[in-house]
């Protein structure tokens, strides 16, 4: 009993001292870490990242994006099978609704909309009507019920990116004759007036231009997997042939429709 007591008396301050030491030590390190991070963050601008060399060229992405890999499976007569695609599209296009674009201005088409000298950056209006049959206005199912599903193709936002030439989205299918591809706006053109982008804080209402791709699947090609690849063409400074990055200026997806 006596031994136990003395042991306790000896050990407790020792353990306590060690705990105290590490409390102070780690406290100091935490403070140092916080301080250094704060200093580092002070050097950053809140508008523009310091470097953008890792994203010199934009990637392409589609909406709706299936959960699994980029593969669409649906039955055109079963609304349930494409309900998710439709709701995703609807949600995605909400921000393009006219009511949300009241502050956006109509810009001059075909020209880069440079606002470097302007403090308050304006966003250009993107009319949903440009998406034609894929705007979801006439066909609430975006063509899925008719066997002409719509897929929106968009180009990743990159601050300061100014495409050259006449960028347009062009899609091909390996399986010839199975599918007819229509573009909205026509020829899949992306208007230059939507560039450049000035970043989230300066360009809060910015809407990236969209290209809708309507796939009119031949009725005798149902039940078959159709591979589609969309690329950005017509602009020399937008890459679309990178070996490693399969989404740089291009995107591939598959569609399989049943009846």
């Amino acid at each position: 009993m006596k031994n136990y007591k003395s042991l306790k008396q000896v050990k407790l301050p020792r353990v306590g001292l060690i705990l105290l030491f590490y409390l102070v030590f780690y406290g100091f390190l935490a403070a140092l870490f916080t301080f250094t991070m704060w200093v580092m963050l002070q050097t950053l601008s809140s508008d523009i990242p310091k470097y953008r060399d890792r994203i010199s060229s934009p990637g392409l992405m589609i909406s709706p994006k299936p959960d699994t890999a980029l593969e669409f499976y649906f039955n055109k007569s079963d609304a349930q099978s494409y309900a998710e695609y439709v709701s995703t599209l609807r949600k995605f296009l909400e921000s393009y609704d006219d009511s949300k674009q009241s502050q956006n201005i109509n810009c001059t088409p075909g020209r880069i909309f440079d606002q470097n000298d302007v403090a308050v950056k304006k966003a250009c209006r993107f009319n949903l009507s440009e998406l034609g049959q894929c705007s979801g206005k006439e066909d609430k199912t975006f063509g899925y019920s008719k066997g002409t599903p719509c897929v929106l193709v968009k180009m990743n936002r990159i601050i300061g990116l100014k495409p050259e030439g006449e960028p347009r989205i062009h899609c091909t299918s390996k399986e010839e004759g199975m599918v007819e591809i229509n573009y909205f706006p026509p020829e899949g053109l992306i208007d230059l007036m939507y560039f450049p982008y000035y970043g989230k804080s300066l360009h809060a209402h910015y809407l990236q231009p969209l290209v809708a791709v309507q796939l009119a699947i031949n009725s005798n090609s149902t039940k078959e997997e159709i591979a589609i690849e969309c690329k950005i063409l017509g602009s020399p400074n937008l890459k679309n042939e990178d070996d490693r990055d399969k989404f740089l200026g291009r995107i591939a997806f598959k569609v399989q429709m049943t009846e």
């Binding site: 780690y26 580092m40 950053l44 890792r54 994006k65 990159i158």
Partner: protein, 1048 residues
Amino acid sequence: LLQKKSDVYSVEDLWDKRSRKTDIGDEEEKYKDLKGNKKKRRQKTLRKKWRTFYSLSFSLSFGIQDDHKLSASELEEKYGTSVNKGLSSARAAEILARDGPNSLTPPKATPEIVKFLKQMVGGFSILLWIGAVFSWISFGIQLAQGAESPFDNLYLGVVLALVVILTGIFAYYQEAKSTNIMASFSKMIPQQALVIRDAEKKELPADQLVVGDIVEIKGGDRIPADIRLIFTQGCKVDNSSLTGESEPQSRSCDFTHENPLETRNIAFYSTTCVEGTATGIVINTGDRTVIGRIASLTSGVGNEKTPIAIEIEHFVYLVAGVAISIGVLFFIISVSMRYKILDSIIFLIGIIVANVPEGLLATVTVSLSLTAKRMAKKNCLVKNLEAVETLGSTSIICSDKTGTLTQNRMTVAHLWFDNQIYSADTSEDQTTQPFDQSSPSWTALSKIVTLCNRAEFRPGQENLPIMKRVVVGDASETALLKFAEVILGDVMSIRARNRKVAEIPFNSTNKFQLSIHETDDPNDKRFLLVMKGAPERILERCSTIMINGKEEPLDSEKAEAFQTAYMELGGLGERVLGFCHLYLPEDEFPDTYPFDTDSMNFPTSNLCFVGLLSMIDPPRSTVPDAVSKCRSAGIKVIMVTGDHPITAKAIAKSVGIISATSETVEDIAKRLNIPVEQVNRREATAAVVNGMELKDMSLQQLDEILCNHSEIVFARTSPQQKLIIVEGCQRQGAVVAVTGDGVNDSPALKKADIGIAMGIAGSDAAKNAADMVLLDDNFASIVTGVEEGRLIFDNLKKTIAYTLTKNIAELCPFLIYIIASIPMPIGTITILFIDLGTDIIPSVALAYEKAESDIMNRRPRNKRKDRLVNEQLAVYSYLQIGIMQSVGAFITYFTVYAEQGFLPSTLLGVRVDWENNAINDFEDSYGQQWTKYQRMYLQWTGYTAFFVSITIQQVADLIIRKTRRNSIFQQGLFRNKVIWVGIFSQIGIALILTYGLGHVTALNFTPLRFQYWFVAVPFAILIWVYDEVRKLFIRRYPGSWWDKNMYY
């Protein structure tokens, strides 16, 4: 059958009473077992050993059969040979084909493939194999699931396997290299033997001998096989390497003992013939010889683990324990955080890889072999790399006397003439003698020394220093010859000028040597009779004594003075010789007088006594210093010798093994004038134990002696007793180093923690059994070895501390990745590049670090307490410096991400989306969108930045690890140049990886903006400053809480 049985018993007697003693010991140990079964293994090995000794004794007697009882003609018949003609060459070739060459089979080595495989599974390899297997499993699962990039895991598995295999190959290569040094060393010049074959005498290589060969042996030869002698002439053999009897034993043709090992008519393989000649029939060759049987026996005695092996094992367990427990803990955490099992497994691999210092064991091997090289330069050849450190932790050295502590040659130490004792210089490189040589008595004495001496220098050595010249003659005569040569110059010409006319050589009945010479004085036609021999015998023949050149009658007073001097010199353990002379009257002994040594027609009494000379095998001049170094280093030096106790004690005193002030029990008894039994044994610090006493001692009594006396000399001991002494020391918990040269020392050498064989005097068996070979046979070399061993222990600590530190900086990323779900800060491959790339050369460089203080001024490390990797080292490296490094590296990581658009707040919790291959529009803090590949590329930039930060901070870590207590400025930043090689290599490799290989995506490196190299620099400086403060407090407040917790 009965005959055979009695043989067995007698042989057992020879392998001494120790077996019985061990039985007692076993019983005691059994008793101890009740309390703890720690001793069990030891007891088992002991028993095993003695069982093998028993079986040995049986097989020995069986092997020699009864050849010693047969007559020469019976032997001729048995072996189909002829004493005069020998075997025919054809018959010999037949037997050779049947029996194989007459050489010992080298001890069975472990097959190379087993050695290699051992390297593959030892240490951390198992953990890495597990990592590799997990990688492959997850690759298989991912492949089955059709995931997009399953090959990453395949590659990771391959890389991990490669790491194990490459480090294994490296360790194997290192070991093979050090074994090769040994192998080349043990190759000896082939021995020759003089054989009668086809009725002709032939010189043959000894390994061509076969049973039945007739061989001739003369003094100085090594016996080429077991030989039954059939003709001898004054033959004596030195069996010390076999039985440990230090006195040469005479051999004859007569059957003297039932026991073949005791009978005089057999000479054994590998013993040496000291004098005389002999002819004999070869009765056993190669492994069937007695020595062959012992050699194969000792190779069976298992080696115990070296202290450093235990330390490394301890360290491996510690690190593996940390790795596995953190790995499992986070596996559970990640599973309960609803990560997929597959992901959790991948985390587990990462944690294991981060925790295991892959390069460390290779580094340790390199450091040890560097030290081994350094030691080889200082004449300590290490056979087993790990023995390098064992020497450093040695706490007791059991040293031979002859040759190790002493010069192994008789040298004149004292002279007595004119009633006065003079001491002579006994150092190795004497060129003059300083004592007073003006007295005419000395002139007379020197003449006797010169003339009454049969020893001669071998011709052709005029350019060599006198002490190094080879002499034909016995040890005492050699000593006298060299002594005279040093003082008088050309002895041979003096002898030529004083022509010898008659001579009676020394023999054991006369105990004197006499010669009669003409003198070199042309005016003096008298003959000079000179005589030397045992002092009391010489004095008996004298009636006068020379004092200051004048003959004075030898009265009782002068005889008394002689006695005193004789006793005093004898008490120093020296061999004393008396010298006298007589000028024969010219009238009685004219020029032409026919001296006849058989009838002794000249006076041999009433001579004139001139003086005494005493000789000793003097200590090597470096030894006293080395012994005192051992003392200050807390190492107990025990002398174990076959010599006489007085001589042993004298040498022990002169080298400091027994210090000037300490007394033995006998000394105290003598001083207090009381019987030995009444002396309080605890008062005596020194003890001289006779081998005879040791024989009758119980283990407790031996333990008591080893415990209670700090200065111990064992005299008249046999090599078998050496084993008992070693075991006794080990019972005290000591790390024991033992020196030995004879075959029979092999068990003791094996048993010892570090067996040291003599390179010059040592037998092959001893060298085989030893862990280390002392190339110059010098005790002082052991001490320099100890110093190196201690230094490497310290430096290994530094290396390990250095290596362990960054493991935390590699581990933290995984933990935070799992908990906070940030993008992976560092990749598994990148970690391997640190562990096996940038960190390797710096950690080896620490092996070149000089000692911080005099390491020979502290006690040997305590095996149980002073661990290589102790709590403080692990805690300081892991929880302090390692955490600081992690903080520095994370700052860089966050900086890189923030400057690319991902602010820290955005990064938290993004892991799942970040790693999702299907998400190619991942938004950063500024609204930009990233494809998966763009994110991956950024992630690799993060890896590179993290890697660079760890590297930069490891430079600071390297510098602080140079010392554990002293300030860097005390140690000197530039004294160890190799450290700078390390630093430059570290940075160089990092530069190459980042900028040179930055485009090879498989390696996950990307070119990095230059400023990111400097983000961690303030933290590197902080680490250095913090460590300086730590060391300052340790130096300022020794024994304080800080010292106890912060000093590793």
